[in-house]
């Protein structure tokens, strides 16, 4: 069986080619998106609510299908992948973690390995490894229910679950947005270190420009379904586009109010 990790690479893990997604009513949520994402980078999709960030993310793991254009995933059009197999090779973390409340932490983390029918001992070992990786001692947390965790711990479990089957690509949809500022900056710092160590290709959605600047190797700014530009963090605040300026201004006013970082 082909998996994402042995697909051939032309340097890009993901490539959007003139991708458009419309609602059945005809309203475009993403229009003519062209974007290349290199292997091992952390690409931030930055934009206001309704700019099409989440839509872009869902087009990658085929929770949505493009109306026009295509998405190339490790050299193959996404439409040629079996959606189930594709998703098991792409980690996915969403805002409220989406943990299964009726499963223990350990079962949640072992989800994809279980779906992939790994042997039981291997799953157990992997779950322990993943929980330690995200800073949750397995002996303390493995048997808990998600309801017995704090918001930050739940997000850690969400990250552990997404990484469990060692997917080459990780999609994150505002994973830290609902956390309190202190927990958020802790998780951002740890996540940056983790991303550097694991060398995954990460697509990270956020509306928080501070988070974008801190975590991204590049920042793609979306506005009303269109790509405004792709910037290195160092160049972002110097860019002259009015959409960038608006975000830069939000950064200043946030700092004036004593923002999170």
């Amino acid at each position: 069986m082909t998996s994402l990790s042995d697909g051939f690479h032309n340097g890009y893990a993901l490539e959007f080619r003139a991708t458009t997604y419309r609602l059945p009513s005809g309203t475009p949520l993403i229009s003519g998106l062209n974007l290349q994402i290199a292997c091992g980078e952390t690409l931030i999709l930055l934009g206001r609510s309704g700019s099409g960030k989440t839509t872009t993310l869902k087009l990658i793991n085929r929770l949505l299908e493009p109306t026009e254009g295509e998405i190339i995933i490790t050299g193959r059009p996404s439409a040629s992948w079996d959606p189930i197999q594709l998703r098991r090779g792409i980690g996915y973390v969403i805002q409220d973690a989406g943990l299964f409340p009726h499963w223990t932490v350990e079962r949640n983390v072992g989800l994809v390995p279980t779906l992939e029918r790994w042997p039981e001992e291997k799953i157990q070992a992997r779950v322990k490894e993943m929980l330690s990786l995200v800073g949750l001692p397995p002996e303390e947390f493995a048997k808990r229910r998600p309801s017995a965790l704090s918001g930050g711990q739940r997000q850690r479990v969400g990250v552990a679950r997404a990484l469990a089957a060692d997917p080459p690509i990780l999609l994150m949809d505002e994973p830290f947005a609902a956390l309190d500022p202190i927990t958020r900056s802790d998780l951002q710092r740890e996540f940056r270190a983790l991303a550097q160590r694991l060398q995954k290709t990460i697509v990270f959605v956020t509306h928080d420009v501070r988070e974008a600047l801190f975590l991204g190797t590049r920042i793609a700014l979306l506005d009303q379904g269109r790509l405004v530009g792709v910037y290195a963090p160092a160049d972002f605040l110097k860019a002259t586009e009015p959409e960038v300026q608006a975000f830069a201004a939000s950064l200043e006013s946030g700092a004036a109010h004593g923002g999170a970082q």
Binding site: N61, L63, I84, Q85, L86, R87, R88, G89, Y92, I94, Q95, D96, A97, G98, L99, F100, P101, H102, L111, V112, L115, G158, R161, A162, L171
Partner: protein, 210 residues
Amino acid sequence: MNWYEFFLRNRGEVFERSLEHLGLVAVSMAISLAIGLPLGVALVRRAGLQRWVVGAANVVQTIPSLALFGFLIPVPWIGGVGASTAIVALALYALLPILRNTCTGIAEVDPSVIESARGMGMTPRQVLWQVQLPLAAPVLLAGIRVATATCIGVTTIAAAIGAGGLGVFIFRGLAMVNNQVILAGAIPAACLAIAADSGLGYLQRSIARR
């Protein structure tokens, strides 16, 4: 002679009728579940159709039970006098709460949980069996609980079309103008309903606690 003496003197028949009563309830509930659960699951993503089907089940619910039993007697195949007609009517009565709670129970599962289940690569079948149904279980069970209690009550009327059960005493008592005989049927029926309700209630709470 008070109802208790009558009850003791006829305890053999009361016991037999109770078993008969439970048998009618069990068969009707089994049929209703076999239809209601899959139908409810199938209707989750079809809001328009769901309104119609739940509406139809609602209409059935409003037909007085005695009339429904009567209506079914002339219907070929399922009709006639006796237990089979009664079972059809009882199953129809139990359908609404089962159907409605299956639909709402599944619809109320946190969308972010479903989204992450799909996004992690679960097949639609795995999402249904491992996520939606277990999380909908308390609501589902609440529907089964209501349906069972209703069914036990309505089954007493099934005696009117010769289906047997504890209603036999009630109708006999009515004919004899003897309250004691009525009570000998009504009290065991009420006890059955209370027992079933609290048993299922216990099950429901222990599932919700998991």
